[in-house]
Symmetry: C3
Subunit: 385 residues, 3 copies
């Protein structure tokens, strides 16, 4: 072998390898596109939760189903462009665009729908859109403080809340509670919130849509390699809450209550949110089971007392489904996540409670200025033909 | 270092690199398989739109829900094998097989279901299958002319219609209008098309299924890297039509009309089809908003006059949901897509109008030969037990 | 060129190539993560089938819809943790964990829900959970024998049943039949299983959810490159059963029967399971068509005689939807799969029949010990408020 042939061989090696890498192997940019499409798929699952899930869950109010679905449509259609525009601008934390921006937008819309559940049936249709406008800045402020290091209050990255037990669920429920405290009238307190056989079946349809797609909600933004384990934790937590909801409803109600089944079964999904990508399966089951128990207890025992004590009506019982289980989920991180920054976690939870309640109380006052419905819980007052 | 060692090193380089490329990097063929599975996912979303979306949207006709769902099943089950067989044969344009073939097949089935909405409730069950057989060749002819350069009328690749505003929606609606013109009897014109509370809720269920999965419909065949932006445009357009539908129904009807909410909210999805992968978000919102306004105006104001003027009944108002917004979408490409071939775009739209109407009129005549239903809009005439 | 420079070049070659492979090309591990997320997507589709599909299909029983949905929730929530725990332990065959484990878990839950359809409405709510506990070990034993070479009865890998015609559908149906034989009382035989207009529409909703996502059920665990062809086979088989169901119901019933449409349309999905990744499209259509015909014949003609002959009630007619079409699917492999091990296939089918029936009969006896419902098919006996 001559020097020349050695050189040629070496050059050939470089060229061949580069060629191989370029032509037969897929590049990181291809993979990034594929990964974004996978996040897109989960974003579509979350969209199904927003419209079909939350929408139909709220159809349980007898004679108010068309309004509940229309309000869901309008709140989603208001919140998505508004949040996306604000978020990509970068005014509230890092400017998330593309598919990450869409998922964060859907999270905001989910929190808004939770909040609206507290006053469902007592707003005029256009007031749901005003509620969306009043809700979003407060939500974004809280999100920015907890997740983006806003004002330096909570160290960026220290707050553990992957699937939004605190930022999405507890915030939405507490904001809604604030609005309900400000807005509930004596007439509202006298009007029954009732369901019937068909409205209950539609409500269970919404419940099951939420159950099915909840793993995609919690795993929407986790890296691809963590998606299966995160999803499994969410599913097992939902199994835990479903089983305990049944046990609790039978004991506390002396029979099965359809609203408990439609709602508290989902408490495991709410509560596993914070820690869904960080705990083991038995812990996930435990968190779900405790949440299902607490939520059913909330619906069966606490709700009446809370409503009388605070002189409010929480139409969908969001404090029981999203409030208590959400807070439980955020606190569970303190117990089950190794090396957690307890100060940051506790502070973040505290800030959420304060911001949500205060902003909700104020929003309720503002909304009340624009009037009250004469007849709560009736499609007929606004629908024609 | 000897010559031999240099040579060995060089050979080692080649071998190592080839090994690396082969063993640790994924090949383009792997990526192609993964990308096809992603298209498959969107194809399943479109399938949900066909059966659950279009099917339940049509359940709004009181007392005809079982028939509407059965007809949906039968039309889909007829159209899929028929179109797929014809399309893979290559008689109409390029022979699309595999997952691309499935998506194109679903597009054809969607257009058929739109068409059937115009005469829903006035065909005997087996006539829906005849309609499918009459519809598909005309649909494939138009698709071939507009998208595959058939007969050299429209330059291949020049017609802008990614999500099918023209080829799928306008074609289906206009074909259906043609059938309705040919088939509507005096008895049909006297029979009321009415909904009730439960049929409206099922219809809103279908509407929401369509809304949720519409991004996958429009992005079904776009490259992976364009999926997120395309999806976002579709979502924003749907937000635009949803908001304007509400505003328009309240103004035009002096109250909210459930059928407007179930239908016109989707007009943004119809109209953004042509340009979904080519416009910016504000333009997408604008297109959606205009389409929602036009569609609601169609349902609230135009429909009655059109039906009287043309002596037809358009059961689902497909001219308002798919006809006008579809044409708007195709024309929007002329305004918002830079460097568009205006001649080709205009010609394609014109051809679609002519082919769809003429073929629909003929198909209606043929169908009428096989008889008319005695009692329109009633499950009871065909269902037993 | 000196020796040194040749050496340097060669080293450069190695370094460059390694760098290229590591930095711009995606590794196999990335691809594996992406592929797992794709399986996850199909697993979510299957979850939609479990809750929304099977759940709502069973809502057809008038006045028992809340119970049917609650029972679905409870059986899924019981089966998933129980099966997953047992399966990952490795006691029954290879220890499947991760996303493969989730899919196998869902398959078990599907089989359980099929089984429960045979006795739907005649168990107290907590008895559905007992049924789950009694069902799973028998299911896992059969799965282990047929698919994992358990006891060396069926050669590992020889039994052809990709989408579970035998292991999932026939097993569930036959186990359910066994339970029904053991448990059906004289009072049960006297109580009518009736549907109404709204319960039928909900049932068709469940049916369509199953139809839409069935391709993901059968393709859940096939390699990425086989997913599109497998899915297409499933879709074409479902088209075949849908068309033949309509033809058969009209002929056999002298009119359309809503339950036939909701159920027998799906028989193609059941029967194509065994061979979904191994046959051509025409064969898939044929298998689906025959299954649809047989299933409709079962509902319209066989069911009454079977129930009287065996003195049982099969509430949902699972023998007609999952039993006969499942067995047909397993036998179709003998005809259409080249080089199949006929002995193993036949033996596997035989074992399934024996294990399912015997275990079901025993499970029914055990369940009967814990009592019978006084009033079958009524929500009111267990639901309050």
């Amino acid at each position: 072998m001559t020097k020349r042939s050695a050189m040629l061989l070496a050059v050939l090696g470089v060229v061949l390898c580069s060629g191989l890498a370029a032509s037969t192997a897929c590049a990181q940019s291809d993979l990034a596109a594929v990964t974004d499409v996978q996040i897109y798929n989960r974003a579509i699952h979350v969209m199904a939760m927003l419209l079909l899930g939350f929408g139909f869950l709220m159809v349980f109010v007898r004679g108010y189903g068309l309004s509940a679905l229309t309000a869901t449509y309008l709140m989603v259609a208001t919140a998505i462009p508004a949040y996306f525009m604000l978020k990509t601008s970068g005014w509230f934390g890092h400017p998330a665009a593309g598919i990450e921006g869409l998922v964060l937008t859907e999270f905001a819309a989910a929190s808004l729908l939770i909040c609206a559940g507290a006053v469902l049936g007592r707003l005029k249709m256009w007031q749901y859109m005003i509620l969306a406008i009043l809700f979003l800045p407060a939500y974004m402020l809280n999100e920015w403080i907890l997740l983006d290091g806003g004002w330096g209050l909570v160290a960026s990255g220290a707050f553990v809340d992957t699937g939004g037990s605190i930022v999405i669920h507890a915030f939405g429920a507490l904001f809604g509670l604030g609005v309900a405290i400000s807005m509930t009238t004596a007439r509202d307190r006298g009007a029954a919130v009732a369901s019937d056989f068909t409205s209950d079946r539609f409500s269970l349809l919404g419940s099951m849509v939420l159950w099915v797609f909840w793993p995609s909600f919690c795993a929407a933004l986790v890296p691809a390699e963590s998606v299966p384990a995160t999803a499994m934790n969410v599913i097992i937590a939902l199994c835990g809450s479903t089983l305990l909801t049944y046990a609790a409803t039978v004991v506390l109600r002396r029979g099965i209550n359809a609203a408990d089944i439609a709602n508290a079964t989902l408490a495991g999904g709410v509560a596993i949110g914070s820690t869904c990508d960080r705990v083991s399966l038995p812990v996930a089951f435990l968190i779900g089971a405790v949440a299902g128990l607490a939520s059913t207890f909330g619906f069966a025992v606490v709700q009446d007392r809370l409503q009388k004590g605070l002189r409010l009506v929480d139409t969908c019982g969001v404090s029981n489904l999203h409030g208590i289980p959400g807070l439980l989920g955020g606190l569970a991180a303190l117990v089950f996540v190794g090396g957690i920054n307890c100060g940051a976690q506790g502070l973040g939870i505290g800030i959420t409670i304060v911001v949500a309640l205060v902003a909700g109380l104020v929003a309720g006052r503002v909304l009340a200025l624009s009037g009250h419905r004469d007849q709560p819980y009736q499609d007929a007052t606004e629908f024609v033909e």
